[in-house]
Subunit: 159 residues, 2 copies
């Protein structure tokens, strides 16, 4: 039995690969009812020219296609950052059993912030939610990425 921390480490590996590709480093993992990893992804918005290509949507779509079912009952989703409203609503549509996320996102989150999707009467499936799994490590990947980007931008402006 793999612990949730180990699954989150795999999601973190994805996030780091995303940073290397120039994407906002968020990683996600879709785990089946037996604990098998069905899909792993990082954000691909810029690489794919796709405004919807968040890590969560990619693993949901990949796993659903693989299983031949639009609903993923019994599956759990691990993601390094609190999902936005788009991803949270997709998680509800996909009937995900449990959502584990790492860092909280007060500026763009849609689970514990903003739209609070799972608390809306228009939301017809509510996963169990566990936030703050490896929160510090998940947050640091993002912090390092944005700090490096700001440094690079400042350097560009001086040239």
């Amino acid at each position: 039995m793999i612990a949730r921390e180990d699954y989150m480490k795999k999601a973190l590996d994805q996030a780091r690969q995303g940073a290397a590709a120039g994407e906002v480093p968020v990683g996600a993992l879709l785990v089946g009812p037996q604990g098998d990893v069905l899909a792993a992804a990082h954000n691909r918005v810029e690489v794919d020219d796709d405004p919807t290509a968040h890590a969560e949507l990619l693993v949901l779509r990949h796993a659903a296609a693989q299983l031949g079912a639009a609903r993923l009952a019994g599956c759990d989703l691990y993601v390094t950052l609190e999902p936005c409203a788009m991803c949270a609503q997709a998680i509800a549509f996909a009937r995900i059993r449990r959502l584990y996320f790492g860092a909280y996102d007060p500026k763009g989150g849609g689970v514990d912030h903003g739209a609070r999707i799972f608390q809306q009467p228009t939301c017809h499936h509510r996963p169990e939610v566990v936030g703050g799994v490896q929160e510090q490590a998940c947050g640091e990947v993002l912090k390092d990425f944005f700090q490096a980007r700001r440094t690079a931008q400042a350097r560009d402006m001086q040239q």
Copy 2:
């Protein structure tokens, strides 16, 4: 210059094609800054085994891939039903200029109901929104679809 009613008629054609394919009949059209139709789609959740395959997400993804850009500034989106929270947040991410929708959706909508995505502080782009465009025709396509489905289910239960 094509009127918004004509664009919505094209979105309605898509919705009817969706119904014929057994999908919840919602149709969408993505229109470029010059008025050219960049993408048209209906829901494909069941056909594609994809919980995210709402008409709006499909036209956003298609147009973004076609233009080679994750943001579609200056583009307008026509959809026969009030977008859900997932699609509304994707519309914000894609920087859509204007959103025209047909029927209102108190049970599942995310624009004028539930999450009210564009009114959240976590939403960083707000399109102009015009609801109720050909509201009656858009609503009837959905009503007819669900009525036919209920009739078929009742017949199946009697057999």
